[in-house]
């Protein structure tokens, strides 16, 4: 409580334009608490859909926070991040459904969700290390290519190993998470059941779990980057040779960043699998990796509140904004009296169809415009702001050096 008061006082005295991070955290906290009430209010009591959407957005926020550790802090470009997401989700599918009965193992496992979260996390971290160990000696572009390959391989393996994974059909009917009895409440959705354990079926329950997981993860990552390890990551990002000469075991540190990023992804994947109760190789393609990377870059690489804002906005644009666009366009055309646009006419399929076709072009334009208007990201780290100034302003060190050698 005392820290809250102190934080509020600092917020009051500090200019949020200079350091918006604290303000963003507070807004996220308050927003997370009041959102369900707003959702219920504006939808007249049927806010379940909106709340579920936000829980899904939370999955992407987790992913973006994890990728930010790899890309933003350690400076390793990972283009196959969705692979670990897939590994987490499939891990849950294997250990928490009847699926293993139809595999050569011919048995079933039903590990509770809460333990499965940790299993998914460690599984993904393990694969992160398996991939990282031989490849993290590579630098920059080479690493990006290798991770790109890994990101392609993993979903393909899940698709083609049908004996184990049911191939393109995916695995369905995964266990529904159960709340431990002490977490039980009106949100469990199974309120009439008297005996524990209560199954989580209400979107609100997923939302609450997601908010708790995100809070925990944000705190842990913040701890991490303000530690010996976080500083070593940034040193590796800035100058690997110098970092090594100063006693930083660069390969070990990069491996750690990679494994922690993968762990986040696996963690998010487990949650995602459990919420959807279905995994399929189609959910983890290259576009997912790129989407998460876009969230990180657009939000503000290397700044946790930034990537949270970025991931939330991009998620809402892709999964809410773009699908709704054709209908909006059609109703807009009607309301301004251009009804003709709604009818197909020769080559022209009607405005709704046309917008449907063009929606990713529109998404692309949004991205290009954002990056042009705000290349440092929506809420950049101080570092990125500096870095981009370097491009436009004269490098002060060079000026100084010339001045001093001339004198």
């Amino acid at each position: 409580m005392a820290t809250l008061v102190a934080g509020a006082r600092r917020l009051w005295t500090e200019d949020p334009r200079k350091n918006p991070n604290r303000l963003v955290y507070i807004l996220f906290g308050v927003g997370a608490i009041i959102f369900p009430f707003i959702a219920q209010a504006i939808s007249g009591g049927n806010g379940g859909f909106l709340i579920g959407v936000m829980a899904d957005a939370g999955v992407y926020m987790l992913l973006a926070i994890g990728l930010n550790v790899v890309v933003g802090f350690a400076g390793l470009l990972d283009l196959g991040y969705a692979a670990f997401f897939a590994i987490g989700a499939y891990t849950y599918a294997f250990i928490a459904s009847d699926h293993l009965a139809v595999t050569p193992l011919d048995t079933t496992l039903h590990i509770p969700f809460w333990i499965a979260l940790l299993v998914g996390l460690f599984m993904a971290a393990l694969f992160g290390m398996i991939l990282g160990a031989p490849t993290l000696r590579l630098r920059g572009d080479y690493l990006a290519i290798v991770t790109l390959g890994f990101g392609e391989i993993v979903p393909r393996v899940f698709r083609n190993l049908s004996e184990w994974t049911s191939g393109v059909n995916g695995i369905s009917a995964l266990d529904t998470p159960e709340l431990p009895a002490w977490l039980n409440g009106p949100w469990s959705g199974d309120a009439l059941a008297i005996a524990a354990p209560f199954k989580i079926i209400d979107p609100m329950a997923y939302y609450v779990i997601m908010v708790l997981l995100l809070t925990g993860c944000v705190i842990l990552v913040n701890n991490l980057i303000r530690s010996r390890i976080g500083r070593a990551w940034m040193a590796v990002r800035e100058d690997e040779t110098a970092a090594a000469a100063m006693g930083v075991n660069t390969v070990q540190m990069k491996l750690m960043a990679f494994a922690i990023g993968a762990a986040f992804s696996g963690f998010a994947g487990t949650f995602y699998g459990a919420k959807l109760s279905l995994v399929s190789p189609e959910n983890f393609g290259f576009t997912v990796s790129i989407t998460i990377l876009v969230m990180v870059v657009l939000g503000g690489m290397g700044n946790i509140p930034g990537v949270m804002v970025g991931s939330l906005l991009i998620y809402l644009v892709i999964f809410i904004g773009l699908p709704a666009l054709p209908d909006y366009a059609a109703s807009l055309a009607t309301s301004v009296g251009l009804d003709d646009l709604n009818r197909a006419n020769g080559e022209f399929p009607g405005i709704a169809q046309e917008v449907q076709r063009l929606k990713f072009l529109i998404f692309g334009l949004i991205l290009v415009l954002t990056m042009l208007l705000r290349p440092q990201g929506l809420i950049p780290s101080r570092v990125r702001t500096q870095e981009l100034k370097k491009g436009t302003q004269e490098d002060s060190t060079i000026v100084d050096m010339n001045a001093e050698t001339a004198s």
Binding site: R228, R231, A232, M234, A245, G247, V248, T397, M401
Partner: protein, 270 residues
Amino acid sequence: MTATALEPKPPEPAVAAPILRIENVTKRFGGLVAVDDVSFDVQTGEVFALIGPNGAGKTTLFNGITGIFPPTEGRVVFEGRDVAGAKPHEVAKLGIARTFQNIRLFEYLTAADNVRVGQHCRMQAKLWDALFKTPGEGREEALVTEKAMEILRFVGIEQHANTYARNLAYGQQRRLEIARALATDPHLLLLDEPAAGFTPQEKVELMRLVEKIIDRGITVFLIEHDMKVVMGISRRIAVLDHGEKIAEGSPQEVRADRRVVEAYLGKDAS
């Protein structure tokens, strides 16, 4: 300099054994011989200088010692242990720190963070401690911060602790590189052209700083072009030319050496 928990080493007793022995070190890049069968000793507690014309192989030798480009042949014996072929971070942990000819700071970290990265290899905190901010980690961070400030004060840039390294003036960046190297608690400090681009005033200050470093019990081995600096602070000097050692001795001996004058000024001058 107050002793903190982060300083494991007791003051080095003045022993006759060399702290660093370069034995027949050769470095080839393909067909190019950058360092050719060079041998010399650096004694504990002295300032030893390596000089020579551009391209003589001085920095290559530094890279060989610090594990960045291990030597092709020969031994680098540091405190009785062969470190040729060891990885850079292992060499740093054993107690050899260095600066770079073209400054290589962590530009987008603050001066204090640069120095704290230098202390990385002396810190104990593990992933678990860092994730959960254990009390031990908190104490260690406090010590590390205190020591970082003390080192910044030692090199004279403590007022810039929270400035990004890239925003420091050139002379301050050179000092910060030395501070970062000192943070690794070295026994031997390699300085690669520490006075490059300095004004005469700054050179005097640098020489004073090197003396202070020696007083802390750290041996200094430096590459330098500026003869005033070299002659002013070093006890012994080795001269490289085209990868070969052509002279070694006290400043007076080296200055009088005919081959050294030839190497620097050409044959006609001698």
